[in-house]
Symmetry: D3
Subunit: 290 residues, 6 copies
């Protein structure tokens, strides 16, 4: 069994290869055949490919599965199975959005004001449909890049992707509307999904990739506590992740172990110390699967 699998080239590439490595699959992208990288998982047949093209090739069955953006899957109207979302970015919990934006100083206040104007975007079909549904006739042109610098000199408006909005701000653009929310997804070909062996392989990948992504936001934590303070210490811990409590040989003493979200550590550790925890140790984790 060989699963042909599309790895997204470009801005997601390093993060994806890194993620696989942490999940236990080494991908070697160097060497002469770099678009068909080797890995140490003999069941994977990897192809490095622009995320725009992955949905098309997964639909056609040239790829069994792949990692790409929801946006390009939507844009190409590809008929594929969406296996799961993969939240790569720690920077922000909000999804990326494709937004309709105009120059800060322009007189345009809403999508309707763009009637008859020129809009540049890389997401041409989605943009055309969006305006069509609103019955606003506009001239949508394909942008080969640097879309965000075009208003107002080169075009009236753009539809561009943004995560934190900082690129929009530094180009003095104003958002009028959201055209599409997107995130990284794992997709599979529909026929592949009916093949039990391949489906199991894809689900194992999903488990490992999700477990690895989870681990980036967590740390391992343990401390000792005596019977008297056990309740207080457990009360401080987040309810979500059930701590593991075990008896120590020292009568009346317990070891408490759990995982903590990275963001919470700086708040919880001082509280646990005050609640009576001692011998506190925080350690890094590679994978977390609840």
């Amino acid at each position: 069994m060989k699963l042909s699998f599309g790895i997204p080239k470009g801005s997601l590439q390093d993060a994806t290869i890194n993620l696989f490595r942490k999940a236990g699959i080494h991908i070697d992208i160097h060497g002469s055949r770099s678009y068909f990288p080797q890995s140490d998982d003999p069941e994977l047949d990897l192809i490095l490919m622009r995320p725009q093209e992955i949905p098309r090739y997964v639909q056609q069955g040239i790829l069994d599965a792949g990692i790409t953006g929801y946006d390009w899957t939507f844009e190409s109207k590809a008929k594929v199975v969406q296996v799961c979302e993969l939240q790569y970015s720690k920077a922000s919990r909000t999804k990326c959005r494709w937004v309709l934006a105009v120059s800060e100083d322009s007189k345009f206040r809403k999508a309707e004001d763009l009637r008859g104007k020129r809009v540049a975007t890389e997401l041409v079909q989605t943009t055309k449909n969006w305006f069509k549904q609103k019955h606003i006739p506009v001239d949508v042109e394909f942008s080969w890049g640097a879309t965000e610098v075009k208003p107002p000199r080169l075009v009236d408006a753009i539809v561009d992707i943004t995560e934190t909005g900082s690129s929009l701000r530094s180009n003095r653009l104003r958002v009028l509307d959201v055209v599409l929310e997107t995130c990284t997804i794992l997709i599979a070909n529909r026929e592949t999904w009916k093949n039990q062996q391949k489906k199991l392989k894809i689900e194992n990948l999903k488990l490992l990739l999700e477990g690895t992504l989870a681990a980036e936001n967590f740390v391992g934590f343990k401390c000792n506590v005596d019977e008297k303070h056990l309740r207080q210490v457990l009360d401080v811990m987040p309810a979500l992740h059930n701590p593991t409590v075990s008896h120590l040989s020292d009568k009346g003493w317990y070891a408490v172990e759990t995982i903590l979200e990275l963001d919470q550590v700086k708040h919880i550790i001082p509280q646990i110390k005050r609640a009576g925890g001692s011998g506190i140790v925080e350690y890094p984790v590679n994978k977390i699967i609840k």
Copy 2:
């Protein structure tokens, strides 16, 4: 509540930002406002500043607290609360020292020999006072840098900082005396320290920073041992850190867990193996709070 906090720019900068990151606070020093870096702790209002200036601004209350050197706090005679020392450097357990040094080949043997001579230093006030207390009249001049290359061509002596002495040696200087010992410290404004909420915030910072610094010198350690060898294994372990002992399901077997100082690992592991420990695992830790 916002705590305005001074981060030392220069030689301590990377180590400080790194320390905060390990402690769970990400500081972003890139971008347009790099002297007022963002962090993911909304209670901190950070300012990047030369360590020489931090004591002055903490005293004036422009900063609530900050990390700087004991030397510059002393030099500026700033009236501030010294919260704790932070021992950054693993290289050496000895404190940094400001020393009075002269050229290796010079005839000067003790501070008194410098009567009427020229001394260059960045620590002008402290140096002047030190000589004054000894009733030795010298001409102290401010050095804009590269102080250690000045004797004997440009000045007769210098007062300069040294950690390991290697810079002094490679510039063929000889130490006559120690003018001041110094280390990195966390200081707070006196009024801030009376504000319970801000004081708690500073103490939490202290706990996290100290726990993170401790972890750099420790590793986690665990092994299994049967009843017969438990005592011997425990005897090998350093008394300081009480090992945690727990029963395994296998009757008569114990799991022993502790932290070990990095320096001792190479000596202790072979001894534990010989004492009967098995399944020995050493793992990295992020924070250690006893």
Copy 3:
């Protein structure tokens, strides 16, 4: 007690220094005396030296011990104690081999076809002896480097080292025979080995280096499981490394802990999840000693 110890310069150098660092011994190769690097182990007196020369100097007693290749020890016929093998390379479980190779297009099919021909190699003595034992007269010349590009323009055949064979392939060479298998080894001087104190020191080094190398191929693993699923979870785990099972305070629940080989993680974690394991955590380890 001071153990003079040879660190191999060149392709093994970074890996060796890295290995010592992970084992708990920091080697500082910078600074003015870089061939006699400092370490934080006062019992070690390190010398950086080409691996070709280490066996000779260990035999002569100028070094007490050192890390080098089996090939150079064999080539120099040095009379030394081989303490243990150290398997550095994760890339491949097969040993490195010195092979007799000719140009892909050449007519040579076996060693005998090279009668009277010219053979270039860095391993001159071993190559001469190998041909001599087969009663094949050839002209063996010392190669100063880039041996693999020489056939067929400059020589008829070569004896060169290969790990994965990729350099041979990209130079269009064909292997005729294996002349010598080799790996990295720890060797000691015969007199040193009779000195109990020095022998103990070398054995401690062996323990730490082997434990560190083992850890590169393993991760720590733990999960919780209830009584009902305990057997199934344990069945999934590799027999080799006895898992540690302990009772949790929650009646009927167990914590299971073990180490897993990196290669197996991607197969085992999904199985454990399906067998009823929960709260699965994988974490990095520094050293593993069974």
Copy 4:
């Protein structure tokens, strides 16, 4: 007078900015508004833009002129004035070509064999028209990049750009036909070209850019020669560039000065030496205008 001018972003960008610099116009592409770079020529209003988009914007008059490829001008059917070709590349005197290529091992021998097959390209319109004129129905799909790795797994054939053919070879592709020859060109808007002041400005630019490009392939050359050998020395020199001959004060001696093509220098200098030239000096030149 301000001439809005498009600089091609991407593979031509550095070469273009370098060319302008050598021509005497410094372009500063750093800083916050990098798509609208500053220059020290107050008559130029520069915009950095993908070469694919420059013809469209020159036609629309948003740009007065710009540097782009002939291919993209042709693809977009833009109605613009082609001012001149600019031969950037010294590597090869042949023009770049967009070729129809298939996998080396494929059975396709000529364009006609691709009837009903899938062809990937970045030059969609030109490719469609080319097949249409030949009455060969094919399915042309837009390629987002890495077109050359797609046959035979992802598509049957490609139309891709090549200069030396080395990328085709290393991807084991075979050329079936040439679809379009291309080179770098300077284009202008048709209305702009009727404006005398702007036309003069563009022609001055053309003169400077061509003079600078010429200089990259030439060196300055001078030598002394006496009357007796003058004829022989002049005979050796290439006819194309009329050498400048002047009398020296030394009666009967001449200084001969010319420019030589870089490629010819290694052949001509030895000949001139033998023909009687002395005091030979070769020097670099910045601009050459015949």
Copy 5:
């Protein structure tokens, strides 16, 4: 004869060492004694030193001469001979200025508004005197660096150096007044200047450094022209640099040679071409001395 000479460390260092190299004096700043760099001019004894300290040491005679800023010479009130200005920067023909600046949003409109306020600067004496002459009492404090980010949070105003004003703008500062204009200067000790041999050496240095700086703004230029167009071609050339005209062997033809300012080249070459010049060659120059 040995001339002890101060080279400014810091922002001027690379430019100065580069300038000396082009002038024919190689300075080697690497190696163990980098503050006392070697050169291939045996008459120079170089010392690398902060520009702030050079005037003081030149006045005291520890240095015979040196390159520093006018500002630091003024600040230290050093009694030295100012030999010449050296205009390093091509970026701008205007001198650098130390300006009094406040936050863009502040209410301060003129120096007088700062009565009783705090002003940070590296140029403490000059700033104090400037305010004193205007009878405005302010509190001037020494700034250890990053002066431009201090208003308004840390101080009310600053006196800082600016060349193009871009750092002021990006820190949202507004200039109230100019405190001092400055440029790079060559200074000499007064006694040294009375020594004929040393004075000649310094004047030779001045000639070479000025000639080298001039060459950075000029190129060599030559063309051929017949008698008929000679006058027109000469008329196009800048009056400042007298072109050299010589007869060619071809009767009625002339070679015209001159140097042109870099800025003018792009304007003049097209004019010369139109005026009848041919065989136009522009070449780089190392030194220009009129």
Copy 6:
């Protein structure tokens, strides 16, 4: 006609490829066949090879010619034609030397003191012969590298190459004697040298390489001078390179042109200025052939 030609790999490699490029021959060492680099001279068939091996292969006729060191030619006793020396290094006019050196602190004062001692060197044959001629029995061992750090711990003495002596000094070695002087040479096979066409090709190479090396030490120089000062100006110029004098159109004025050695420029230009030269221009040169 194809000339097979050896380019020395290692410390001379970059300098050699650079020299060829300046001489007008571009060598491309990148790409898959890097030991057999391509050039734009179709008559050259280049092989990159360790300089130690070039003499052997030139003697055997596998190479027609090559660039290597005199030392390795001597060591291998190769019977080849030495075409010319090529003085690469501007750093020093003295030749490189292989010297016999011992530890600074050792008691050895002359070669004879080493009777019966161990000497490490890369130049084994030459060293053995040198000691043999002096009737001093020593044990010469091949050193695989880092020879200079071996005394006194690993060997008693070394024979190693030195240019400026700085490596010897920093390793605290003392020179006892010179074993061999060496420099870079161009050598040819004896049979090749009898082939007129190949000999001409090698002589052309020699001319271009020597002319290019010369140019690195020279600059072009011209100035104008009137009749009155002509003699004085010419008197200042070095006798070696006959200046070219030509009449200007301006009656009574002359243009003087010559080349100057880089080292002399800083002395001569001020003198020419004082002697009455004006319009002085110094410009870079690529090749100089007298």
